[in-house]
């Protein structure tokens, strides 16, 4: 159920919980090292990210953690969000006769017009309650949720006893090609993929440290 890890991470970014983010990147390492995920860059980066979080001297380290994410409107976002937004604004506004000069002029003004636009939105939204103000209303998903639950009840079982019966049958009719086929289903199940990817993690982490943090002395 990687969904929980994802929601956990998403909330930690919003709340600027830097140490918790480091913990989640550490937890995520085995997933990134599976053959299926194959997140070559991000597994390397997660090691270095955690290293910076624990290797800086105080009070620089505290400062580093307190600025792990950046406050946007109410909650926090990543360091990549401001330029993502800028790129989006450029694409939305500079749509015809695109020239370098036009883009430069747009960005020059943006510092002011964004400030004013935000103020107007603040006035217009001031009559909304806090919850609506700070978060977008989530789309209703109940129909889809009920459909999936019904599917699971029908194919796995609607009671604990039935649902937890040991079985190697492909009861959900999942395409097993990516999970090792029908002959070795258990060995290539997601949990086992992640467990297998855990092998050699110490050597992997040490290799990244040696390569990307050559200045550090270790005891």
């Amino acid at each position: 159920m990687f969904g929980f890890k994802y929601v956990d991470y998403r909330n930690a970014v919003r709340r600027n919980e830097s140490h918790h983010l480091d913990l989640l990147w550490r937890e995520n390492l085995p997933s990134t090292r599976t053959a299926k995920a194959n997140k070559v860059n991000y597994r390397q980066m997660s090691v270095i990210l955690v290293y910076w979080g624990c290797a800086l001297v105080e009070p620089l380290q505290s400062f580093y953690h307190q600025t792990r994410t950046i406050r946007w409107v109410h909650s926090h976002v990543g360091w990549d969000m401001p330029i993502e937004k800028l790129n989006m604004w450029i694409k939305e506004a500079v749509i015809s006769n695109i020239t370098e000069l036009q883009i430069v002029r747009f960005i020059w003004r943006l510092n002011f017009v964004q400030h004013v636009t935000r103020a107007i939105k603040g006035i217009i939204w001031s009559m909304r309650d806090d919850e609506k103000h700070s978060t977008a209303t989530l789309k209703d998903i109940d129909t889809d949720v009920q459909a999936i639950k019904q599917f699971l009840r029908t194919h796995i079982g609607s009671t604990y006893a039935v649902a937890t019966q040991p079985s190697d049958a492909n009861v959900l009719n999942v395409n097993m090609a990516d999970w090792g086929g029908l002959r070795t289903p258990r060995g290539s199940a997601p949990f086992n993929q992640i467990r297998n990817a855990q092998a050699g993690y110490r050597e992997y982490v040490e290799r990244q440290l040696t390569k990307l943090c050559p200045w550090q002395r270790w005891s």
Partner: protein
């Protein structure tokens, strides 16, 4: 009206018994007082109608320094408070008159309440000021014009609105105001960290003139650039003990001298105590939410202890992306040498995964340049949207067969086995559906068996096969 007004004015003066024409009565007979008071009120109101009061944050463009004052007010947040009824409040008689008017066959004027926290007559009274002179600019008229400029409202729409409604200024006027305002940028409205500055960067490619009729024989061009912005980090994020980078560098550098390697390596074990503890805690937290009928994804209200971050967007670095070390070197040097950062002790540089990757490689290749020469470079990785997407992406690839099967159940054809960041929102939405459904299912079947808090049991059982 011009002929009537002096009469009304005189009547007003007479009715109020002002000192110019007569003395106030020493004593009044009480039997006619209510009638006289009503007349008094009407005449006083009539007098007020002939003299409009200009409320605060209204600027006359012919007055010297008013344009600059308008720009300064727009930079400040002061104008956003208390503007909902200022025209109506400054002219109560006019407001009273508007509220007494009947329309068509109405015999009695209805009662008028506020509309969305704003006086119902605010726009009307403001329009009277704008009708008197185009040079009279309420701050919200200027602000709305700037907002239109931001959203690139097409020129015909702009012209029509300013002709019929007059609630926006002309585009040219707005552009000139922006130019002036940018020269009067007051900077962030909160104390910033001293000695350490920050910037963010990322690349952008745009197609130019691809569908232009004027392009003859060429299929347009591609504009490539790296955009960047200065981030003003609030002083509140820095602990009091910080005495500057010089003190840190003088005592051996920004990194700890010795770190226990075994402890560091073990922390990446999937069985590390804090990782397992957190997995169990969130399993309970989210399943409890699902069992209670709540949405797992509902975000709790969070108000950051820090002020809203101010950014300064710089002109792009054209013809540079992040596909080569040469480009990244150029970009880092540009940012380090800019007037915003050249005198800084340390420069935090943030961006997406690729930017972070390039930076950590450059720092490792040349630590003397980046870690021992000011401004020291500290790479920051973007956690959202890029970090968030890649946290999802790895596991999505692993779980894709099940996810695609469940997508078929709800007839979702947008979900892919291997999404890119362009597909992020659609896949995040489907993940929300799946997470909620599976959680509610686990909570449901656990009611007929054992406690749902046995995470491992359930995870193993629900690994489908």
């Amino acid at each position: 009206m011009a002929r009537v007004s002096p009469v009304i004015a005189i009547l007003c003066v007479l009715a109020r018994g002002d000192a110019v024409l007569s003395r106030p009565a020493k004593r009044r007979n009480t039997w006619y007082e209510p009638v006289f008071t009503a007349a008094e009120k009407v005449l006083a109101s009539a007098s007020s109608l002939l003299h409009l009061q200009t409320p605060p944050f209204t600027f006359h463009m012919d007055h010297e320094g008013s344009r600059e004052a308008l720009a300064d007010v727009l930079w400040s947040s002061a104008w956003t408070e208390g503007i909902a009824s200022r025209f109506s409040d400054a002219n109560p008689a006019l407001r009273f008159l508007l509220e007494q008017q009947c329309v068509d066959e109405q015999s009695v004027a209805p009662r008028f309440g506020e509309r969305q926290g704003q006086s119902r007559w605010e726009a009307g009274i403001k329009a009277i000021f704008r009708a008197r002179s185009d040079r009279l600019v309420p701050v919200e008229t200027a602000a709305t014009s700037i907002m239109w400029l931001n959203y690139a409202i097409p020129q015909p729409v702009w012209r029509a609105a300013s002709y019929f409604g007059r609630f926006v200024m002309s585009r040219k006027w707005t552009e000139e105001l922006c130019e002036l305002a940018m020269q009067r940028d007051p900077g962030p409205q909160y104390p910033v960290v001293e000695g350490i500055t920050a910037a963010v960067f990322d690349n952008l490619s745009m197609q130019a003139a691809y569908s232009s009729f004027s392009v003859d024989g060429t299929a347009g061009t591609r504009l490539e650039m790296t955009n960047w912005a200065t981030v003003f980090l609030p002083a509140a994020t820095m602990p009091d003990a910080f005495a500057g980078i010089d003190a840190v560098l003088g005592s051996g550098g920004i990194f700890k001298r010795l770190i226990n390697l075994d402890e560091f390596l073990d922390s990446f074990s999937m069985y590390a105590a804090d990782i397992v503890h957190n997995q169990r805690a969130r399993w309970k937290k989210y399943l409890d939410l699902a069992a209670g009928g709540s949405s797992i994804w509902e975000t709790e209200q969070f108000d950051s202890p820090y002020p809203r971050t101010r950014f300064y967007y710089h002109p792009p670095i054209f013809d540079r992306l992040q596909s080569s070390y040469e480009d990244v070197n150029f970009e880092i040097n540009t940012m380090r040498r800019s007037t915003f950062h050249s005198l800084s002790d340390a420069l935090m540089l943030g961006g997406d995964g690729l930017s972070f990757m390039r930076m950590i490689h450059r720092v490792s290749q040349d630590p003397r340049l980046y870690l021992e020469t000011k401004p020291v470079v500290m790479p920051r990785m973007g956690e959202n949207p890029h970090g968030l997407f890649h946290i999802m992406h790895g596991d999505w690839r692993i779980w894709a067969p099940l996810l695609l099967r469940l997508a078929a159940v709800v007839n979702n054809r947008q979900v892919k086995a291997d999404p890119t960041i362009v597909d992020f929102n659609r896949h995040q939405h489907f993940l929300r559906i799946v997470t909620q459904a599976l959680s509610e299912y686990v909570a449901e079947i656990s009611r007929s068996g054992t406690t749902m808090l046995h995470a491992n049991t359930f995870c193993e059982m629900l690994s489908v096969i």
